[in-house]
Subunit: 468 residues, 2 copies
C-alpha cells in the first residue's frame, strides 16, 4: 500500500492525500449511519489528476469511492470500514469553466457547490433551477451522480433533465469529454444518462454542461385547504391545466404534519385553520400582477368546485418565503418529535389517494396509534411518507420493533401501484438489497452486464447500487 | 431457413410472415437510398409474440431489423440485401393501453402512429407534443428508437424528454417491463435512456409510457425580419427571457430559402418583404389576448433595439397555419429545385453566427455559385444547412463531384464548434462510418462494450449505428 500512497502523493501533491487527523467529514455519512475508514482521502485538483488517481488505483487493484459534498442520504459516498478503499473527494474542483448566455448553458466542475452555481447563474441574470435542502454544501457532481430532485422538479425536471453533457473519468482512467452544450445530438448511445444516477459505480463525473433558464419575472405562492386527498389531486389537475409551465411547485401537507410544526415551532404563523390536507402552490409568471390574477382565478375555481374550502395568496415575497418555510419545517418538527421511519417513495399521481387511504388503514391496524407524517411533492408523485411512534412510545423501541416490517409493507404496496421505493435519494449502500429484491431480474441482469462491461475489475464504488 | 420460417409462422400466424409479392414498403427506405431484401417480414401482434420471434431468430443465429413506420432518414430500419435478415415490423401493435389523465401519462404500443397518439391525447383534452413532418405514418416506437425531434423541442424536448418508461424485448428474447409512469425513480441505472436513441441495436421497444401536457389555451405565431444572424440570436435571447416556457417555436429562414418558396410556390403569401433573415416565433398562452399582448411586446422591443426591422403577428389561426406553411415549404421548394446535399447539424446557439458566416465563405470559395439553403430550429441550435448546385449546374453532377468533400468540410467545422453531425436524424447505416471516424475513441469504446454486453451475438440490427 505504501507504493500506492507514494504514487498518489506524487500525482496530486502530498498535501492532498489525507490520512491523519479527523477525517470524519469524509468517512461518516451525513445521517451518521455509515462510519467508514479510508486508506486515504485523495483530493485531486484537475481532471487529469482524477484520471491519474484512477489509473494508480487500478494498477494496485484498489477500489475508489467518489465523493462530492457528502450530503447523500443512502450511504453511497463514504468508504467501507476495511481501510482499503481510496476516498476520492472532488471538493477542490470547483471551477465554473464557461457560462454561455446565448446558448443558456454553463460548464462547471463536479466539486462546485450547488448554491455557488445558482449564484453564478443569478449573477448572469439567469436561473439554474435545481434546488434542495442541502444546496449550501452538496456539489453538482453528487447531484448528477444521484440524479437529485428537489423542489423545482415539477417545472424544470430532475438533475438529469438539467444536464446536456458530461466529462467523466472511466474506470480505465481515461477521460471521456462529453461536454456537449447541444439540445439535439443523436450520435450513438446515450452515455450521459447512463452516468447520471449511477452513483459513482461506472466512473467519476468530473464536469458537466448544464441548462440555464430565464429568471421568471415574478414568483407567487399560495396555500389551499382541501377536504380530502382526492380533492388535492383534482386541484393539481386544475392548476396544471390553467397554469401549465407556470406552475413551479405543488406541495402536499397532511394535517398531522402541520400540527407537528405548530407544536414544535409555535412562532411560525399558519395562515389557514387546520384542514385534512393543505396544499402549497407556487406560480412563476412574467409579472406579479399576472401571477396574482392567475393564482386567484385557479383558487376561485377550486373554492367553487369544492376542491378547496379555504385559500390564501401570499401578499409579499416575505409571506411567500414564510409559506415555504412551513413546508420545509416539517422534517425538522419530525426530528424534534423523535427518530422516525422515512420513506422516499414515488407513485403515479392517480394512485396516491388509494395508496394513502389503504396504507394508513393497514399501518394503523399493525401498530395501533402509529402517527403518519405525510407530505411531499404531489406534483411529482413523490411522497415523504414517514412513520412516527405512537404517542408515548419511545422512538428507539418503535424503530427496533417495527422498522423492517413496516418498510416492507410500505414498499410492497408502493410496488403494487407501479411506484418506486426510492424516488430521489437513490440506492447507495442503504437500499442495495432492496434493489436486488425488488427490481425485475431482466432489469438487474442488464444493469450487471453494463457494470461488468464498463468496470470489469469492479473498482468503482463497489457494493453500492448493485450488490457485489 | 425453412425450419426458422415454419417456427415463425407458428409463433405469429402464417398470415403475418410475408415473403411473396411486393415488399418494397418494408425493404426500401423512405428516401429510396437503401434497397434491401429480407428473409421474411414478420408482423407480431403482441409483446409475447415479439419475444418469441426474437428467441427463434436467436436459436437460428439470424439477425433482426426492427421497423416502425419506415420513415427514417438514415437507413436504420430496412434490411441489408443478403436476404438473410428478419424484418420485424411493429405495425400491428397499435393499442393505447392506458391513458391516465391525473398522472398526465399514456401507455401505448410501439406501432401506434404518432398522429393517432396525438389525437388520443387531444380527445382527452390533453397534448402529446411530439410533432414532425412524418407524423401521419411514423410510429412511436420508431420515434423513441431514433429519439425524434421535430418542431416542439424548444418547449417540450425531444422524444427522450417525453418518455417515462419502456417495455423492451431484449436480444435474449426476454421482456423488460419498465413501463413506469413516474416522474421520479432513482432505482438503478437508466436503462430507459439507453434504449431511446439506440436505433434497434440493443433490443426491441414494444411499448412506452409517455408524458402528456395540458393543451395551451391559445397559440399564436409571428414573423420578424432581421438584418443579420447575430440579430436573430439576440431576438431569440430576448424572446426566451420575456416568454420563457411560453415560447414554443423559434424557426430561422435565410433569404434564399424563402426566395425558393416564392419561386416554386408563388401562391403562398409572404407577408414580409424579403430580408436577410426571417424568424418565425410561436407562443402558447392561457388566452389569445395574453398571447397577442406578449408577442407584440417582445416584437416591439425587438424593433426598437434593431434586432428586427419589420414584424407581423398572425391575425387568426388560419394565418398562423399559413406562416408555418411557409417554413414547412422550404424542403419541398428545394426538392423542386433539384437534388441537394442535406446536413442535419446542431451547434451551440452562440456558435451559429460565426459558423454561418465562415462556412458560407468557405463553401462559396470551394464551389463558386453554390447556393446555401439555411433554415431550421434556431431555438434548439439545429440547422438544416443544405447545399444546392449553382444555377444552371445539373444537380447530379454537383452531387457526384462535391457531396463527399462538402460533407466533410461542413462536419469538420461543426465538430470544431462543439456541434453534432446528426442532430435529430440519427446514425443508421448512412452515418455509421462518420460516427466511427468522429466520435471519441473513449465514447466509442464504451458504446461497443455496452453493445457487446447486451447483445453478445450481435443479432439486433447489425451494421447500424455501430460498425460491425
Amino acid at each position: 500500500m505504501s507504493l500506492l500512497l507514494d504514487a498518489l502523493r506524487a500525482a496530486v501533491g502530498p498535501a492532498h492525500v489525507l490520512r491523519d487527523g479527523d477525517l470524519s467529514a469524509y468517512e461518516v455519512d451525513w445521517r451518521k449511519r455509515y462510519h467508514g475508514r479510508a486508506l486515504a482521502v485523495v483530493r485531486p485538483g484537475s481532471t487529469a489528476e482524477v484520471a491519474a488517481v484512477v489509473r494508480l488505483c487500478r494498477e494496485h487493484a484498489t477500489s475508489l469511492v467518489p465523493q462530492g459534498g457528502n450530503t447523500g442520504l443512502v450511504g453511497g459516498g463514504v468508504p467501507d470500514d476495511s481501510g482499503r478503499q481510496v476516498l476520492l473527494s472532488l471538493g477542490r474542483m470547483q471551477r465554473i469553466r464557461q457560462l454561455d448566455a446565448d446558448n443558456l448553458t454553463v460548464t462547471v466542475e463536479a466539486g462546485c457547490v450547488l448554491q455557488a452555481l445558482q449564484q453564478t447563474a443569478a449573477d448572469a441574470g439567469l436561473l439554474f433551477p435545481l434546488s434542495l435542502a442541502a444546496e449550501g454544501s452538496c456539489t453538482i457532481g453528487g447531484n448528477l451522480a444521484s440524479n437529485a430532485g428537489g423542489t423545482q422538479v415539477l417545472r424544470y425536471g430532475n438533475a438529469r433533465e438539467l444536464c446536456l453533457g458530461l466529462e467523466v473519468v472511466t474506470p480505465q482512467g481515461e477521460v471521456w469529454d462529453g461536454l456537449s452544450g447541444l439540445r439535439k445530438d443523436n450520435t450513438g448511445y446515450d452515455l450521459r444518462d447512463l452516468f447520471i444516477g449511477s452513483e459513482g459505480t461506472l466512473g467519476v463525473i468530473t464536469a458537466a454542461t448544464l441548462k440555464l433558464h430565464p429568471r421568471p419575472g415574478a414568483t407567487m405562492t399560495a396555500l389551499a385547504a382541501c377536504p380530502s386527498i382526492e380533492a388535492c389531486v383534482a386541484l393539481l389537475r386544475r392548476a396544471r391545466q390553467r397554469l401549465d409551465a407556470g406552475l413551479t411547485g405543488f406541495e402536499l401537507m397532511e394535517r398531522f404534519a402541520l400540527a407537528l410544526v405548530a407544536q414544535h415551532f409555535p412562532s411560525l404563523p399558519q395562515p389557514l385553520p387546520a384542514a385534512p390536507w393543505t396544499v402549497l402552490l407556487e406560480l412563476a409568471a412574467p409579472s406579479e400582477a399576472q401571477a396574482r390574477d392567475s393564482l386567484e382565478a385557479v383558487l376561485g375555481e377550486a373554492l367553487d368546485s369544492g376542491e378547496a374550502h379555504d385559500a390564501v395568496v401570499a401578499e409579499s415575497l416575505a409571506q411567500s418565503h414564510a409559506l415555504w418555510h412551513l413546508r420545509e419545517s416539517i422534517p425538522l418538527a419530525q426530528a424534534e418529535e423523535g427518530l422516525n421511519i422515512k420513506n422516499d417513495i414515488a407513485l403515479p399521481v392517480s394512485a396516491i389517494p388509494g395508496f394513502v387511504t389503504e396504507m394508513g388503514d393497514t399501518l394503523r391496524a399493525l401498530v395501533p396509534g402509529i402517527r403518519l407524517v405525510t407530505f411531499g411533492h404531489l406534483g411529482d408523485g413523490n411522497l415523504h411518507y414517514n412513520l412516527q411512534a405512537p404517542q408515548g412510545v419511545p422512538a428507539a423501541d418503535f424503530l427496533a420493533q417495527h422498522e423492517a416490517v413496516l418498510n416492507q409493507r410500505v414498499y410492497d404496496a408502493v410496488m403494487a401501484c407501479g411506484g418506486s421505493f426510492s424516488a430521489e435519494h437513490g440506492i447507495g449502500a442503504l437500499k442495495c438489497s432492496e434493489l436486488a429484491r425488488r427490481k425485475s431480474p431482466v432489469a438487474l441482469g442488464m444493469m450487471r452486464a453494463i457494470k461488468q462491461a464498463l468496470d470489469p475489475q469492479g473498482l468503482m464504488n463497489p457494493g453500492r447500487l448493485l450488490q457485489p
